[in-house]
């Protein structure tokens, strides 16, 4: 969808939540749900930071690392992409304590989701770096740059632009998978919704509000990434055959 349609949807969703916040049937649920949404947002943001870090490290290790490091990165990516996020969270939450490592639920959430999305992101980063035309590498050799200089100054800045749209999708996946942390006892948006649902049985208003809140967060991410893409590609088309 275009930027205008997305913004219109975002506006409509925000207005809908605002109207519900003052209407009688919905108002009691809003403060609690907003608290949950705040926790969801915190987990999503910290998870994003971890995911991007892991993705870049794993991609660079897979591409340029020495053999053992490459193997390690391969295993990381295959294992985390091959099993489901919920299984990973449960494993970190229930099994790690048996090995003497007990983590806070919040830490499990951030680490689990960050590592999961990071594994998918590693493929995005790797693909974007491999997508840079070989001539760019040859040019850096001609300019007598070291490999690290070439990567930092020439390759990564160009790869960055190609990474923006897939990262946008991954951030939304991450935001959506934060709903899973409700199953390891964290009081996020999904958890509060379930709790309220069990105590009041007012399923439709509660879940409508929750869906709208998630929609607002996802649309905000989508719109931000579109704007970022627009900024990053500005002026880049110059000198490139269309």
């Amino acid at each position: 969808m275009g930027l205008y349609s997305l913004s219109a949807m975002l506006l409509a969703a925000v207005v809908a939540i605002a109207i519900m916040a003052v209407s009688e049937t919905f108002a009691i649920f809003v403060p609690g749900l907003l608290q949950g949404a705040w926790l969801t947002l915190q987990i999503a943001l910290l998870g994003c930071v971890l995911a991007v870090t892991m993705a870049v490290l794993a991609a660079l290790a897979r591409l340029y690392g020495p053999l053992p490091l490459r193997w390690l990165a391969n295993t990381y990516v295959e294992v985390f992409r091959g099993t489901s996020a919920l299984v990973q969270l449960f494993w970190l939450f229930f099994v790690l304590p048996h090995f003497g490592l007990t983590l806070e639920p919040f830490t499990v959430a951030v680490v689990g989701l960050g590592l999961n999305v990071g594994a998918y992101g590693a493929e995005v980063v790797r693909g974007a770096i491999l997508g840079i035309v070989p001539g760019q590498w040859e040019a850096t050799v001609a300019l007598n740059m070291t490999r690290w200089q070439a990567l930092r100054r020439v390759i990564l800045p160009q790869a960055f632009v190609a990474m923006i749209p897939p990262w946008g999708n991954l951030f939304i996946e991450l935001l959506k998978s934060t709903a899973l942390v409700s199953l390891i006892t964290l009081g996020d948006l999904a958890f509060r919704a379930q709790q309220m649902n069990q105590t009041t049985m007012k399923t439709i208003p509660i879940f409508t509000l929750v869906l709208l809140m998630y929609l607002v967060m996802s649309l905000a991410i989508t719109i931000c990434m579109r704007l970022l893409e627009r900024r990053a590609t500005r002026g880049l088309a110059r000198g490139r055959s269309a």
Partner: protein
């Protein structure tokens, strides 16, 4: 730390649960394929309809599957339709991934050259015949790998059904854990089963992709 005897003793039960997981994946994905095609076709049918369907797809894709599963499971009864957990879960899976599939179908449909439509009009084919005999046979094969990726993605989302107590792999492992206080073996085995099945299906998709490419190249 790792008890082999216990691990082997729970294998049969996990195997049975794996069948439920596979069943949910199969039915869910079939639903997603059909629904995705319908959504993709509806989106092409006119500007106003197209916008409404786009907004619906955007909405479903932007909200967590877990919430959608809860929504279907808890909301349907208030309209007098009581679904068992498995049905509600599978419908939610199909609906969610149907929206992803709709995007894939759209890419496939848009890749069919305009001339094919014009040729169908010239041959006086009806809309239905055009789609069935001309457009879809050209649009579907190139998108099979993309659809396959969503099959694997859907498969990996089935543990969410444990949240509404469907007895699939995750729920079975959780129950074993809470009965014996041994989470290590069941959880790890579930992880390994998922990893194996994903790797096998990924290999299967690559094989299918190669076969389809060979056929269309000929």
């Amino acid at each position: 730390m790792w008890d082999w005897e216990y691990a082997i003793s729970i294998m049969p039960a996990l195997g049975k649960a794996a069948l439920v997981t596979i069943q949910a994946t199969g039915i869910g994905f079939l639903l997603a394929l059909v629904l995705g095609l319908i959504l993709a076709l509806l989106r092409m049918s006119g500007p106003r309809m197209g916008w409404a369907v786009s907004a619906l797809i955007e909405f479903i894709r932007s909200t967590p599957l877990l919430i959608q599963i809860f929504f279907l499971y808890f909301v349907f009864p208030s309209f007098g339709i009581v679904l068992d957990a498995f049905t509600a879960g599978v419908i939610a899976l199909g609906l969610h991934y149907g929206c992803y599939c709709a995007e894939v179908y759209r890419a496939g449909l848009e890749a069919v050259p305009r001339g094919q439509w014009e040729a169908s009009i010239a041959l006086n084919l009806g809309t239905y015949a055009t789609f069935k005999d001309v457009i879809l046979p050209q649009a579907i094969p190139p998108i099979v790998p993309a659809l396959g990726n969503y099959l694997v993605a859907l498969f990996k989302e089935t543990p969410l059904l444990s949240a509404i107590a469907v007895l699939e792999l995750m729920q079975t492992a959780k129950m074993m854990g809470s009965e014996t206080f041994r989470y290590t073996e069941p959880m790890t085995l579930v992880g390994i089963i998922f990893l194996l099945m994903s790797l096998v299906s990924a290999a299967g998709i690559r094989w299918l992709e190669r076969r389809l490419n060979r056929r269309s190249a000929r």
